[in-house]
Symmetry: C2
Subunit: 460 residues, 2 copies
Amino acid sequence: MPDTLHTNALSRLTALLGDRLVTSDADRRLHGQNETYYPNTPPDAVAYPETTAEVSEIVKICADTGTPVTPYGAASSLEGQHLAVQGGISLDFARMNRLLSVSPEDLLCTAQPGLTRKRLNEDLRDTGLFFSVDPGADASLGGMAATRASGTTAVRYGTIRENILALEAVMADGTIVRTGSEARKSATGYDLTHLLIGSEGTLGIITELTLRLHGLPEATAAATCRFPSIEDAVNCVILTIQSGLPMARIELLDHMMVRGFNRYAQADLPEEPHLFLEFHGSAAGVAEQSAAFREIAADFGASGWKEAVKAEDRNALWAMRHSAHYASAALGEGRHIWPTDTCVPISKLAEAVTWAQTRAVEYGLTATIVGHVGDGNFHVGLSVDPEDAAEMARAHDYTHALGEMALKLRGTVSGEHGIGIGKQDFMVREHGSAVAVMRAIKQALDPAGILNPGKLLPPA
Amino acid sequence: MPDTLHTNALSRLTALLGDRLVTSDADRRLHGQNETYYPNTPPDAVAYPETTAEVSEIVKICADTGTPVTPYGAASSLEGQHLAVQGGISLDFARMNRLLSVSPEDLLCTAQPGLTRKRLNEDLRDTGLFFSVDPGADASLGGMAATRASGTTAVRYGTIRENILALEAVMADGTIVRTGSEARKSATGYDLTHLLIGSEGTLGIITELTLRLHGLPEATAAATCRFPSIEDAVNCVILTIQSGLPMARIELLDHMMVRGFNRYAQADLPEEPHLFLEFHGSAAGVAEQSAAFREIAADFGASGWKEAVKAEDRNALWAMRHSAHYASAALGEGRHIWPTDTCVPISKLAEAVTWAQTRAVEYGLTATIVGHVGDGNFHVGLSVDPEDAAEMARAHDYTHALGEMALKLRGTVSGEHGIGIGKQDFMVREHGSAVAVMRAIKQALDPAGILNPGKLLPPA
């Protein structure tokens, strides 16, 4: 039995959950894994609740005994948000993964937090509707809400912030609350829905989500093209967004990212900067958008236009795009990826991307660049060996300078990955005196600090 | 000198502001007015700050002396949010009404809270951009943010919630904070921007706003048509929204509202249910949308299709629509309007509107119905005489039943007007245990309760 988990808490949790409270080394280590360079951080025990009432009981026991509780979905978060860094309970939503209801007539559905976005879209297949938020990984909906996820389609359909109507959550004392309603909008009271979204499980544990759905577009076309330079590609994106073209997806890949795809996914693409695109609308609308985009792209020297209209071709394209994390890793055998998540105002994008690419070379780092550039968001993926202290120090210095650059350009150090354990150093730099307001809210809602401690807010 | 304002506070505020701290009866009474049936509620004094630093100093003096401070914009709020119901200072942003900067290349601008939305759009005229949120009244931007305003175009462009990127605010201890950034999205820390939006000045005082702008559509067409029954009109709306048509505006008027427009604005419309519409897009897109809508409308017996394509004709149409409050009042000379603000899931709209219309007649009330029905939001405007106690009691009972009906249909008692002093009875009914969370946040951020006391949260 782990040291840090009180005997009292363990016996009460076991009485509540039976064999759904697991303390085996294997399961603890599994829950200590992550996709990036953080070391394995096992919790003391893993709880598998089946109902909101059970989550509430678990949190009450944790509150009584001062036991940390860290929500766990698909473990695809990139800043260690799901890691129980102060021990305690990993609250795994694997058994709360059901689609509870679909209201096609209201373009919404209600789901449990452990359901993943791909499963949700499979379940919706016969409704003519889809859930738009697509962070790449097959993330859990609860995790996506908690980390304020977005991804490739946010440029058209918004981030998860714009696609959640209501939440159910368990607060630090075990109280179950409901926020929002099924109406499209409301002006009644403080916006607790948006306060919980992005709070990384530190203010409340999301136990149910009411999500906005969108009608499948009448027509969809994907396309790729390449540019003579990364500046040309980015300037094409800037003009496209400024001109108001309703892009469904507009993704940048630098030549290193293309090389990664060639190695990892046998893509056989010319190793030049590319844009991957998607258009949604009526058949005429898609044709109009595509033509308008190509006119802009031509001014920036675009070539190699290839369309993917059939569903399987489009799916293959986006599956490749979504493998960027692993494709970046493929550039160096056995190496890990240190992901970054800069987001700047669209007019600053060329400056930011050029800076990022040039400086990575200067720092002697192997890096890919890929991004949801329609939102001004791009990821530098640094290939690192956690055992190589000198390289890790260079990566640290680079990411620090990258964050400072984003803030100088009036942007943010994280467009979608969040703070977790990896970006706390930036909180005061980005938010200044507002961090004290955040601390006051955390203190008011979780005075004992049992909800996902060690995340989001820097140590006082 | 008013009783409730400490001599100490008054002398310190006068030292700070000179003749910009006003205690004349005339100015106090002016700041006690409102658009609806609430009695005049003058503050003890009116402060006219010119800078954020001055707002901070004012709040510090109020904090020191326990003086309530109530932000004041254009006084167009409909639930008395701007009324100093516990006395103290009315903080009038008339002198903080500048457009500070416009970044056409980033589709955003930064403005002071006293700037009104119409002035903003006049200032933006040469940029090809516009600020989309249109609550009808020429509201101040600070007031719109504080009350989570929306209006006719929210169905396409979102409410103010989706159109604010960043805020500056003065907290209850005078601290100046900045929330958000100029990036389109961010996942760094608690969403204080959305916490302040809709908080009605009870958590912080907004002193600067960074707003999203939209490109003026290449083509715009407005249109009106009428329906045999209100059910037909509403069912047409429901199918239009469910089919995903990107309506820029879709407004319902019942026959009583049309009668009001005929009297107030000499509209000369047949006194039948109408929809007022607007389409935005490319020329081809607008034609396509308009044709698709007319096909749906024909199935519900629409007739009398009239288009308004020229800007002056469209402006005249929407100016009339925006006079709904006064047109409702025109149905009974010298009477006041008791506005309501139901918002329900779109599939429940026909049930809700029919209920509202039928019951108003049963309660013996004169009522108009008008609404942003694409969002499921509609306003019953009750014509009342505040001196007629029996009628006021019927109006109270009706609005109470209307709110209960909205909640039963999984909607909200207020889509856009807010809680203010008028809807606090509904807070626990709508939000249940979440009200305790809201109270904890209020207590944490404004422990002395000086920020707009008596609003939003019901008495403990």
